[in-house]
Amino acid sequence: MIPLFALVSMQSEQSGGFRLWLPLFLVWLLLLPLAVLLLPVIFIICMVRQVNPLRALGLGWQVFAGLTGTHIEFEECNHSFLIRII
């Protein structure tokens, strides 16, 4: 399943911080026409590099879908940073 939401949070004791929910599914919808436009370019690059374009696209999609569930959290002194992809 592709990432649908991302949570980006940055907290600091001095300056407060923010917590941002990004609806990625809307971003993907907006980027879809761009992806269609880029498709021929990707095919040409794959042909030049002698890579099967379907395989490359399939693997790219797997990496994209594999991002779901990623969680990166970093905390030091009074600062904390979090990215969660859901």
């Binding site: 649908l4 790219g60 990166i72 905390e75």
Partner: protein
């Protein structure tokens, strides 16, 4: 993705709950899954495939109650590792040589071409048995799968 988490996201997408409420619910679900006891490694029943690789770095507390270093908590989906290794097979030969040279320069006798997708499933299966604990005087590092 668990059924509970999917329901929370669906409620958020439908506007039934706010982003903050969704955040609290998901955090509670994650806490619940962390609190539940880890499966007994010694039991003979077949273990499920690992879904995530976790890297946790926990600094020791200093005398004033603060921590001696950064606290890091990273969870990487195994599916991403799997896709990444497969993607490695698309690296052109000359680029792979550059990467291997860089590994060798930094003292790592590692060859990218040795990682083959056909060996990947076996590697992922063995992640279940992998737990790395590093206990230093200032910091604790744990690498494990879940």
């Amino acid at each position: 993705m668990s059924e509970n988490r999917r329901q929370v996201l669906e409620m958020l997408a439908a506007g039934k709950i706010t982003a903050d409420e969704a955040d609290r619910l998901i955090a509670a679900l994650e806490k619940e899954s962390q609190v539940s006891p880890p499966p007994d490694r010694s039991e003979s029943s077949p273990k499920g495939k690992p879904k995530y690789l976790r890297v946790v770095v926990e600094p020791e507390k200093d005398n004033q109650g603060g921590s001696k270093g950064p606290k890091v908590n990273i969870r990487v989906p195994v599916q991403l590792i799997r896709a990444g290794v497969k993607l490695g097979s698309l690296i052109p030969a000359h680029a792979r040589d550059h990467v291997n040279d860089a590994f060798h320069r930094h003292g790592m006798q590692f060859d990218l071409s040795q990682i083959k997708p056909e060996n990947l499933e076996e590697l992922i299966e063995h992640l279940n048995d992998l737990t790395i604990d590093v206990d230093d005087k200032d910091i604790k590092v744990r690498v494990f799968s879940e």
